[in-house]
Symmetry: C2
Subunit: 318 residues, 2 copies
């Protein structure tokens, strides 16, 4: 284990991959490893990239990696796909388009899929961010699929959140409107060479105006820019990278960078606690109660009450 933790601290890719797998698998060695590497974390800027399917988030992430590498920064990418059954660090099929970074030692790409359990994915994602942070990556991009609760959990983990839109997707602004709208610190309209760009731009401008009036932005001290991009041709990468650094500087000027890191650790603590408590409640007797609920012989509130009572009767339950 010490070798793996040391490897992570030394930035060894194989060690990082192993550490992420341990943590995603809930291997007990993962917890020990986090204790070892934690003092070396808190430096990387976590950047969330989210938006509706079809907005070109992967291509935009790819463009950003290229831009950040040209500035000599080391970049980690965590691709979060709640609809994918693949987990534990395998690079998904649709990641092949990022293959051009695969041989670059300054880039580390991992995919995380569903944990089959509410909240499990955002816990794994945060663990992976800590590992990449300890490995010395300057920026860790967390890219999501879709617009569900998992995505909101993920962007809430980021220092800086990029919302990617695209012209011509009718419900798109609507999909962004709540939850994610509050979190967005950089808005990008990708595929800006498409028909309908100006109409979409006006919708976003209106939305940002309404957001300002309603004063609901997560980061009240920051004026969120609306940028245009054509990620397939590399257009817009520079401006987005500049905005990422500008937001970091703005956060640091108000101690907001460390505060966001701290909120993540708080949420992570609760997520770990939740998983451990539930694991305890489900010994052999617990399984019998669950079977009663599954047979619909007792309602779920009564069943949960019985499980709680079982825990209370057993102090030595580990």
């Amino acid at each position: 284990m010490n070798d793996i933790a040391q490897g992570v601290l030394d930035g060894v890719v194989a060690a990082g991959a192993r550490a992420i797998r341990w943590l995603d698998d809930r291997d007990p060695r993962g917890a020990d490893l986090v204790r070892r590497i934690f003092p070396a974390t808190g430096r990387a800027q976590i950047v969330g990239v989210t938006g509706p399917p079809g907005a070109g988030k992967s291509t935009l992430t790819d463009m950003l990696v290229t831009e950040l590498r040209s500035r000599d920064l080391r970049v980690g990418v965590i691709a979060v796909d709640p609809s994918s059954p693949f987990t534990g660090g395998a690079i998904l099929g649709d990641r092949v388009r990022m293959a051009r970074h695969a041989l670059d030692p300054g880039v580390f790409i991992r995919s995380l899929g569903t944990r089959g359990q509410a909240g499990g994915l955002s816990r794994s994602t945060h663990d992976a961010c800590l590992v990449l942070d300890a490995m010395g990556y300057d920026i860790v991009i967390v890219e999501t699929v879709g617009v569900g609760q998992d995505e909101i959990d993920v962007v809430n983990l980021a220092h800086t959140t990029i919302i990617v839109g695209v012209p011509g997707l009718g419900d798109e602004v609507q999909a962004v409107k709540a939850g994610l709208m509050e979190a967005g610190e950089i808005f990008v309209i990708n595929k800006a060479d498409r028909d309908g760009y100006q109409a979409t731009q006006r919708q976003y401008e209106l939305m940002l105006h309404l957001r300002e009036q309603a004063a609901v932005a997560r980061d009240a001290g920051w004026s969120a820019p609306l940028l245009r991009a054509v990620a397939t041709s590399g257009e817009g990468g520079k401006a987005i990278a500049d905005a990422i650094f500008a937001h970091r500087a703005a956060l640091e000027a108000r101690d907001g960078f460390a505060r966001r890191s701290g909120l993540r650790e708080r949420e992570q603590t609760l997520a770990i606690l939740r998983e451990r408590l539930i694991a305890r409640a489900l010994g052999a007797q617990g399984q019998a109660v669950l079977a009663e609920a599954e047979a619909r012989r007792i309602d779920p509130y009564t069943a949960a009450g019985k499980l709680l009572a079982q825990i209370d009767g057993k102090d030595d339950l580990a």
Copy 2:
């Protein structure tokens, strides 16, 4: 409380609305109410409607409600929007298009928004399904936004899942491919009068063919139909309703209907237990540990371990 439970059993709309709010707010009266109404549940068919943003799920749900009402069935609709901060039964702005059912006593529509907590939304959704079931609605449609983990949780709660696609959305089939693909029992291509319908239809046919070869469908005994719809003009409603009943009959022929209901109660039991355990762990001492984690003075695994130790030392903690 007894009045509210009796009101639910009598199908009184105001009682149902109150019950759903109690449960969504985690009011203790909600748990007592579920105990009272539980014996009257297990009859309604829960139908999940999901698919990417822009597929027209709301309009399709509206069409289905009209079709089911024409068959003299009572219909409940729960609109689940994880990106919305509105919760507790308020009808969202975008629900106004369902206004034409608002005065029909055979239709009950509620919206549920984010709980701000992993898994909380699917727990509230299941509670609301139980209430509508006890009120005597024959079909409860659970309509989701987006394609995240929450949506997968929701469709896993349904007896029958409808996946709605739309021509011309490039990543759409991809977004459906895992997680949701396994769950789909009825596939509908909406907006079928649009350009690109035939290409999308071929993609879905191929996907369904691959799914059959891989034998990954959740309901292996059912051959999922691929239907076309133009929900804005009412086209396709009859065929979808027929497929819903055909799937119910197929499930019942193999005891699958009760089995799916039971799996829901099992998941719900775990969700309730998870929420109660975490609430216990967070007394005043617990908050101090969380503050340590938030200040990044201890790592989240160490913090979670301390919280567990606190629980173990306190038998009288309620």
